[in-house]
């Protein structure tokens, strides 16, 4: 005792605490998946892409998605109508941003929001649609 040794029981207890805490930490680590709203947002992004991809654009040749990716001029002429179309398609509380090889359209994306996204390949390059609750 004179040398101030730590009691063996306290050492055992410390080891026990570490053990129990490590198991508890396992729970928090394992359950840290994506936010619950992400699958729903992913689905909405895919729906929007499907509808835009199966809808004729004004030029009478392409789907809207292909028209966005085809060329700079084609993107410029399709941009405004696509924005209106997406506003109409997605539920009122969902905002969007579309990235194409020739530029982007839609709303500025907040840095912290949970985002759902989908990327559709076209003959002229990929188009990415991102949606979030705004």
């Amino acid at each position: 005792m004179s040398r101030g040794q730590l009691s063996l029981s306290v050492v055992e207890a410390a080891v026990g605490v570490v053990l129990v805490m490590s198991v508890a930490a396992g729970f928090t680590v394992v359950s840290t998946g994506p936010a619950a709203s992400t699958p729903q947002l992913d689905t909405l992004a895919r729906d929007a892409a499907t509808v835009l991809g199966s809808e004729p654009a004004a030029n009478g040749r392409d789907s809207r998605l292909t028209a966005l990716a085809r060329s700079v001029e084609s993107f410029a002429t399709t941009r405004a109508s696509t924005r209106d179309r997406l506003d109409e398609l997605l539920p009122a509380d969902v905002l969007f941003r579309v990235r194409t090889p020739h530029g982007t359209l839609g709303y500025p994306q907040p840095p912290t929001a949970a985002v759902g996204s989908t990327t559709v390949p076209t003959r002229h390059g990929p188009i990415t649609i991102r949606v979030w609750y705004g």
Partner: protein, 223 residues
């Protein structure tokens, strides 16, 4: 003296381990509570929504495009046939808040929203090509099929019907037919005939113009 020191240490040790266990169980319980406790609800709602908008579903004309006349006749039993996970679930399917099919009162439960278009057919439109004047018929964008009825007049042989320049119907002995043709939805189609000189008769083109409404499909399921 030494034995009593050990007793204090033991008590302290027990308090520490008990405290740690309590905290650990609290954390574990919190994690479980946060996790999805309604996997069946979510599964049922997702399955119904997926099956309703799938490209090969009887309720759609293509992916995410619902057929208005089928949707009008939708009820909970038909939905159950389409999506077995919804069996015995309280379920409500709405389009922009307007109920399409419902059974029971799903309070709580899982909600799935999908962006869809609802396609309905207009009354049939008929355009006629007057062969003697060599006129053409223009079918607007979005029409997928049309019926062409070729009715040549006396002493006239119509061999070819063309859509946007490509041959649609051809018969070297002369056409006298009533045929359904498939068209591209993406572009307007111009239908012409190649008559000889002094040809008479008419070619009637009948089609339905699709009317497209954009809606939000909401499925709420509570198993």
């Amino acid at each position: 003296m030494r034995a009593q020191t050990n007793l204090v240490a033991l008590t302290l040790a027990l308090v520490l381990v008990t405290g740690a266990t309590v905290v650990g169980v609290a954390v574990a319980d919190g994690s479980l509570a946060e996790a999805d406790r309604d996997p069946l609800d979510r599964h049922a709602a997702t399955a119904v929504a997926d099956r309703l908008v799938a490209a090969d579903s009887p309720t759609t004309v293509r992916a995410n495009a619902l057929n208005a006349s089928v949707v009008d006749g939708l009820n909970a039993t038909r939905i159950e046939t389409l999506a077995p996970p919804a069996e015995d679930a309280a379920i409500r399917v709405t389009l922009d808040g307007e109920t399409v099919a419902a059974r029971g009162a799903p309070d709580g439960g899982a909600t799935v929203r999908r962006s869809v278009v609802v396609v309905s057919q207009s009354t049939s439109l008929q355009r006629t090509i007057n062969v003697s004047r060599g006129s053409a018929v223009r079918i607007p964008q979005g029409v997928t099929r049309a019926t062409v009825a070729v009715d040549p007049g006396a002493n006239t042989t119509i061999r070819t019907v063309r859509a946007n320049g490509r041959v649609l119907l051809y018969d070297g002995a002369g056409l006298d037919t009533n045929t359904t043709i498939r068209l591209s939805r993406y572009e307007p189609t111009t239908i012409r005939v190649d008559p000889g000189t002094n040809a008479t008769g008419r070619v009637a083109v009948t089609y339905h113009r699709p009317l497209v409404d954009t809606r939000t499909l909401t499925v709420i399921a509570d198993v």
